[in-house]
Every structure is written in C-alpha cells, then in structure tokens.
Symmetry: C2
Subunit: 153 residues, 2 copies
C-alpha cells in the first residue's frame, strides 16, 4: 500500500543492495534484506515487499528463496490467511559467515591437491602452494571458534 518510503530508508536499502552486488549476489536480494532490516513490522509479505521496493512479485519470490537458502531470512507463521511472511532471521549473519568460512575450507582442500601434483618438484616451487595451504588451514582452524565466541555474546 505504502509506496513512498523516506529517502533515507531508500538509501539504506540501496546501499545494502550495492553491498550484496560487491559480494557477487543479486542486488535485489540485498534490497529485500535491507527492507527487512528496517521494516515496521519486521515481517513482510511478498506483495508488501514488491510494493515497497517497486519490484515485481516474481523477483521478490525468487530472491527471497535465495535469502532463505543462505540463512539470512525465514518464513514465519502468517497472521493473515494465505500469506507468506518473511522476516530477518535472528542469527542469520552468523550462518552467512559460517558459509563463507566453509568456502575458505574448500580452498584449503584444493591447495592440498595442488601440493600432491608438485610432490616431486624441487622445494622452492612448492612454496607458493604451501603458503596458501598453511594460511587456509590456519584460517579454518582459528576463525570458526572466534566466530562462535562472538555469536554467543
């Protein structure tokens, strides 16, 4: 219904959209998240979000699904019949960060395979991979506990 937001809200939403774009994700997904971070009430339907963001229901539907997969938003029981409400998911950023740390772990494994390829090469040639391997092994070892510590605060 409401189709004109305060200009500051629009900027905030768009900034998160741009941020998502920098991260390699669709801007619209970021906009949805931005809207759900400052919405009143916190839970919004697909149609609501479409009106707020001046976007089609289809892209809202698809991008909302993506955000659910990433753990950043969730569906909540609907007060109104036949409406799906989405809201920011408490702890969602933690989940998102965990996923990202998982990506790092993947790099650790790839470099390990690389080291096998270089097994019979002279030592100096192996150092590049060893550097990467050691770094990501340590990241895999040290970062997740820190994240969990922060999460418990």
């Amino acid at each position: 219904m409401e189709d004109h937001l305060p200009i500051e809200d629009i900027h905030f939403i768009e900034d998160i959209g741009l941020y998502f774009e920098q991260m390699g994700l669709p801007r619209m997904a970021g906009r949805i998240l931005g809207a759900l971070l400052i919405s009143d009430p916190p839970s919004q339907s697909i149609t609501d979000l479409g009106a707020r963001l001046h976007a089609s229901k289809s892209s809202i539907s698809i991008m909302a699904r993506l955000l659910v997969e990433r753990g950043l938003i969730e569906r909540v029981a609907s007060p109104m019949p036949r409406r799906d409400y989405y809201r920011f998911k408490p702890g969602g950023w933690i989940i998102y960060m965990r996923q990202w740390l998982g990506l790092m772990a993947g790099l650790h494994q790839i470099t390990e395979r690389g080291m096998l390829l270089m097994a019979d090469k002279p030592e100096p040639l192996k150092e590049r991979l060893k550097e990467a391997h050691d770094l990501f092994s340590n990241i895999e070892l040290e970062f997740p506990p820190i994240l969990e510590k922060i999460a418990r605060k």
Copy 2:
C-alpha cells in the same frame, strides 16, 4: 610453446577458476592464478599464459591486471627483453583476505547508519540492526589481529 598440460594440472587450474567464480570473480582470473600456483618456472609471460590456458592474450592481459589490483600476483623484472612476467605474489592471499575483511567493515558502517534511522522506534524493532552491528563490529575487532598473527607464522 607447451600447449598440452597434464590432465591433473588442468583440473587443478579449473577448480580454482570455479572457486573464483563462486566468489563472484571472473573464472579466467582464477585460472591464471591457478596456473601461476603450479607453473614451472613460477614467472610466466602473458603470451605463455595464453598458450597454457588456450585463452586470448587480451583476456589474460585484463585479468592479470585485476589480479594485480587484488594483490594476488605481481609483475617481476623480466629476464627476457620486452616481456612482462607475472608470478604469484608472496603474501598475496593475506592481502586478499584483508580486503575481504575490509568489506565486512563496510557493512558495520551501513548498519550503523541504519540504527540512526530507527532511533525513535521501539526497542524490539532495533534489535535486528543491533545484532548485525554488534556482530560486524566484533568481527572488525577480532578477525584482523588473528589474520596478522597467522600471517607472521
């Protein structure tokens, strides 16, 4: 010159390419980095890389520049005249990680602005932003020192 690499090398290179793609970067940039992680000798010219990866010189040239900007590779003095040699940059991954942590810091600032927007709203509505703000503040505080500690190893 050499235009057929061992199949395992190709897989390794392609895996890093795919990894880069997941991170939202061009696959070819990842392939170049992959090649420079297992190349013998470590330093390779644009033309060399083009032949190795069966890619055009233009894309190698452009993607190499991107990797230099990201701090992952560097130009080195050329043994041959009129040739630019690139190699994996020692400590490059650290630089890359630092850049990524900087992105997180950006999110911290955006959520701070969001909190200002919600200043006069009831407390429960502000919690979403506060959660994000606190998390990324803590990440900004705790992660970089850990990274530097790992880097010194």
